[in-house]
Amino acid sequence: MSMDRRQFLKIAGISSILGLGATAASATHNIWVKGLSPDEVAKNPEALNAQHWAMVVDMSQFKTDEDFQKTISACHSIHNVPDFKNPDGSVDLKDEIKWIWKAKYENAFPDQDNPYMEEKLKEMPFLVLCNHCENPACVRVCPTQATFKRKNDGIVMMDMHRCIGCRFCMAACPYGARSFNYRDPRPFIKTENKEYPTRTKGVVEKCTFCTERLAVGKLPACVEAAPKGGMFFGDLADKNSEVRKIIETRYTIRRKPELGTGPSVYYLIGGTEHA
């Protein structure tokens, strides 16, 4: 059989590509097949379960600055959220990372303009965080499913191992709830919580409704640290849950509901004082 040099090179090239491809395909097939089987895993018996975790926030119960600080630092400290500050002590707006923070009414609800509303409400800070939307835009755009909506309980979760740091989710989120690690966060963590990992540079992070606490039967850190009656957390799908009862009987608003994202964080309007 005679074959010229070009033909030989072409056949050699294609065979090596196919050979490499086949080994790669079988290797990846192995990884996908060798996940854990259902009889190898279980939930903790004390874990809190729900079909649709939701939160109700009553800002009227947050009376002092300390109330806010306790709630915010409860979250940021146990999750090893770094604290970036400029030399003059002001917040470094460039690299800052925050999972839950304060915002004025006009920033939390920019499309609910009401110039003559009560001055107190105009100045009152609102706690804002990831809304764990029913129809999250961030999940829709993530190219690797590094951020995804958990089927069992509706929490919009982050898989830091898979995130490629493209920041498409940050562009998509209508609430500005997400932060990016523009540099290594470890030098800026005040006190490490040794039971929770840190993140590394180049990944996006946000509030996760404390999945690691729910898994062991505890409520989210902010809910626990908030002043009494300030934050409620429960299963919106459960007709008898506290959050469901509040939302069905009192007037609550959500941030930017017209966008169709279906946020799961409800803000009680009027508070208990005006009930």
Binding site: T144, A172, G176, Y182, K201, L259
Partner: protein, 390 residues
């Protein structure tokens, strides 16, 4: 054929050395960024996409513009483009490579890039963007190489290449539509949430890319023995004129919707860009330069006497390219992030390192372009007088 890019005059090698130096400094600063993190750029929690993604967006348009040569020649038998379609295809290769490089330098975890392939996500526009861009690069490499080597041998190209040539037409439209979809489907950002986004992108692509091609063709005529042709350049000029008109018109439509409706969310980004918002006027001079250049170049392109004068045409193309670069490569991106989702004005400006890395990527792109053009032009010079049959 690659060896044709490795022989050249002293000027050719000096040009490559210059580009190489820029590329190396870009790589040097990228390594710094890789070590420190993207904090080395001007990006922030509020403006999370900036110069890199802007350049990527602009260059997808330049890449798509190859189709403005392919359509007249292959679909409408405009034989006059026979010798220069290759210039469009090679420009597309260079532009898509730059796009991929800009994505790479913008990623927080570039080592995990394979996650996009290992975990394909069909609802993510970015997944589709990576697929269509890779496909377009492959198509142009294949078509460019096969047709050019056939020209060199003086034979018509194999019949099966026609499939890929025809495929490149809708594919070129798709790469820029998908890139527009990155922006046009995000619910919170009203500056981008517009149905005409994809149309605007395509119009500016078909104006910006061919205008660069005109400039390159004029340079080729000056520096080599290959003359792309006066008539060919004029046809390109007409294409640019129509496309630029569509682009300016569509931008005007956006202004109308924003300001006639008077909805704050729609107006605020425009205000930030063109008159300033909350005392922040960083981008105002740039945006007005872009608009003035756009209007001036459009006027020059539309008047036949001016368009037919090649010096004035070149001047108009330079203004047009700069105008579109500012508009799409910078203003469009920043405008989407200012004001942020809590209605706060937090601004952005690229850092020194970010700019050098950007320059480095452009240098790599032009290196590839120069190398490929050298090959194509040498083939044309050597086969002068030989008719091309595609």
């Amino acid at each position: 054929m690659l060896e044709k890019g490795l022989v050249g005059s002293k000027k050719y090698w000096a040009w490559l050395a210059f580009l190489g130096a820029l590329a190396v400094s870009g790589v040097y600063y990228y390594l710094q960024q890789f070590n420190y993190g993207l904090g080395l750029t001007g990006l922030s929690r509020d403006v999370s996409w900036g110069l890199y993604i802007g350049q990527f967006t602009f260059l997808v348009g330049v890449a798509a513009s190859a189709v403005m040569l392919v359509i007249p020649y292959y679909l409408h038998d405009y034989k006059k483009f026979s010798k220069i379609v290759i210039l469009g295809e090679f420009l597309a290769i260079s532009a898509v490579t730059m796009c991929i490089l800009f994505i790479f330098v913008d990623m927080g975890q570039p080592m995990r890039i394979m996650n996009v392939v290992l975990h394909p996500t069909l609802n993510s526009v970015m997944f589709w963007d990576s697929m269509v861009l890779s496909g377009y690069l492959f198509i142009n490499l294949l078509v460019g190489w096969v047709t050019l080597s056939s020209d060199r041998k003086g034979v018509p190209p194999p019949k099966w290449i026609k499939f890929f040539i025809y495929l490149s037409v809708p594919w070129a439209v798709s790469i820029h539509t998908v890139t527009a979809f990155l922006y046009a489907g995000l619910p919170g950002r009203h500056f981008w949430l517009s149905a005409v986004m994809a149309a605007r992108f395509l119009a500016s692509a078909f104006a910006g890319g061919p205008s660069l091609l005109i400039l390159l063709a004029l340079l080729v005529r000056k520096l080599t023995k290959f003359d792309p042709g006066k008539e060919q350049i004029q046809t390109l000029g007409t294409i640019v004129a129509y496309a630029m008109f569509a682009n300016v018109f569509l931008l005007g439509l956006e202004f109308f919707t924003a300001f006639y409706s008077n909805i704050p969310g729609h107006m605020e980004s425009f205000k930030y860009l063109y008159v300033g918002l909350d005392g922040h006027r960083e981008l105002v001079p740039l945006m007005w330069t872009s608009s003035i250049f756009a209007a001036a170049s459009l006027l020059m392109l539309v008047i036949p006497r001016i368009r037919k004068n090649e010096t004035l045409l070149a001047f108009a193309c330079i203004m047009l390219f700069i105008s579109l670069w500012i508009d799409k490569g910078f203003g469009l991106i920043i405008g989407g992030f200012v004001p942020n989702m809590l209605n706060q004005v937090r601004t952005y400006w690229p850092t020194r390192q970010e700019s050098i890395i950007t320059l480095g990527v452009w240098a790599i792109g032009f290196l590839i372009l120069s190398f490929l053009y050298k090959i194509a032009i040498t083939v044309r010079e050597e086969s002068e007088g030989v008719e091309i049959e595609h």
